[in-house]
């Protein structure tokens, strides 16, 4: 193929979607988007419903009966609040427009650089979180040991406490590690490789515009 043929081929009517394909792509996308939005909304409604029922039940136990003594077991209040905090964060994310990953108001080079910076920031935060898990594990073991020595935790409950708390800690640490190694690190590698293409100089020129 020579120049004219390549350009003619490129500009030909076959190098584009037909009217039917165009309509189908747009329809498929907008219906997928609307379906996702409806699913997120239904999930939020269900979550708040369940939280309300559970909180209502807990409130009845605390204030309507004498099964829970607030003066001794006040930790039930912050423990009840934690899932509400997460639910509100999800609601905020649903309502807000998040910053898009691929932006059109800046150059591709700047957009990739910003994505790399965001990736580095997130990896740093996860590393810090990982350190907290490393510190929390011996502290937790020590606390449980102390409670047992002080007679607060009977032997029969010790194993279940260790299993439950240790398991929960290990599971969440695993999730953090998985996100770090299987999501953020590969993405960082990809972005670095892409940015290096922008930075490598073409012969006889300087590479970026700024």
């Amino acid at each position: 193929m020579n120049l004219d043929e390549v350009q003619n081929l490129w500009n030909s009517g076959i190098n584009g979607p037909t009217a039917h394909q165009r309509a189908e792509m747009i329809t498929r996308f907008t219906s997928t988007l609307r379906r996702r939005r409806r699913q997120e909304f239904a999930w939020l409604v269900w979550t708040f419903f369940v939280l309300t029922v559970l909180t209502g039940f807990a409130g009845w136990l605390v204030f309507g009966t004498d099964k829970v003594s607030l003066s001794a077991e006040w930790a039930v209040i912050p423990l009840l609040l934690i899932p509400w905090v997460f639910a509100c964060l999800f609601l905020r994310k649903f309502l807000r427009q998040t910053l898009p990953a691929a932006r059109g108001d800046v150059t591709i080079s700047d957009s990739l650089t910003a994505a790399m910076a965001a990736n580095e920031s997130e990896r740093f935060k996860l590393k810090a979180l990982g350190m907290m898990y490393v510190i929390a594990l011996p502290v937790l073991a020590l606390s449980i040991g102390q409670l047992h020595s002080a007679g607060k935790v009977p032997s029969r409950e010790l194993i279940s406490m260790v299993t439950f708390l240790g398991g929960a800690l290990a599971l969440s640490a695993g999730a953090v590690a998985a996100k770090y190694w299987f999501s953020l690190v590969p993405k960082a590698r990809m972005l670095k490789a892409l940015l290096s293409q922008f930075r490598e100089p073409a012969e006889g020129t300087t590479s970026p515009a700024h």
């Binding site: 193929m1 996308f29 590479s207 970026p208």
Partner: protein, 170 residues
């Protein structure tokens, strides 16, 4: 910008400019991957619309978003594509060209997909008729850098397509 405005803008842009996205997707993906990438690109455009302030042309905005999405999508399948390319060398590159222009177009896209990602992006813009200044503005490169890269890309494409003539840069 409320959601209705976002929908309206999206549908208007897709009616006028979806061919841009179509060519980007074909330049970065093949086979059934095209559908996946098209959905990714459409989602990227949808999410980016609220940040459109009219300071640049809609086409410039769309080129930036679609190429950005394609560049970052493609890389996650790098190992798979490497294996595909090693196992299936560009078909027909050294044989006579088939009569069907559809196949010739597919050969052209296959040759484009063999280029490094940034080169691929630049040549797609060039074929769409953008000037060096426009291409530089989209990528954040200097015009001279774009010019030199484009010459190199065209020579490489020519070699892949087994063509003798190299077309002059604009």
């Amino acid at each position: 910008m409320n959601r209705d405005d976002q929908h309206e803008c999206f549908e208007r842009w897709m009616t006028d400019h979806i061919a841009i996205l179509y060519r980007v997707v074909n330049g970065f993906a093949e086979g059934s991957d095209r559908n996946d990438l098209m959905q990714e690109v459409l989602l990227a455009v949808w999410k980016a619309i609220p940040s459109f302030r009219g300071q640049a042309q809609a086409t410039t905005f769309l080129y930036r978003v679609s190429h950005n999405a394609a560049l970052t999508w493609h890389r996650t399948r790098r190992n798979y594509l490497k294996r595909v390319e090693q196992a299936e060398p560009l078909a027909g590159a050294e044989s006579s060209l088939p009569d069907s222009t559809d196949e010739r177009l597919e050969q052209l896209y296959a040759a484009i997909r063999r280029l490094p990602e940034l080169d691929r992006s630049i040549v797609l813009l060039s074929l769409d008729g953008l000037s060096y200044q426009e291409m530089a503005g989209i990528h954040g490169l200097s015009e001279s850098n774009v010019g030199v890269r484009l010459n190199r890309i065209k020579q490489r494409l020519a070699k892949t397509l087994n063509q003798k003539e190299i077309y002059e840069p604009r």
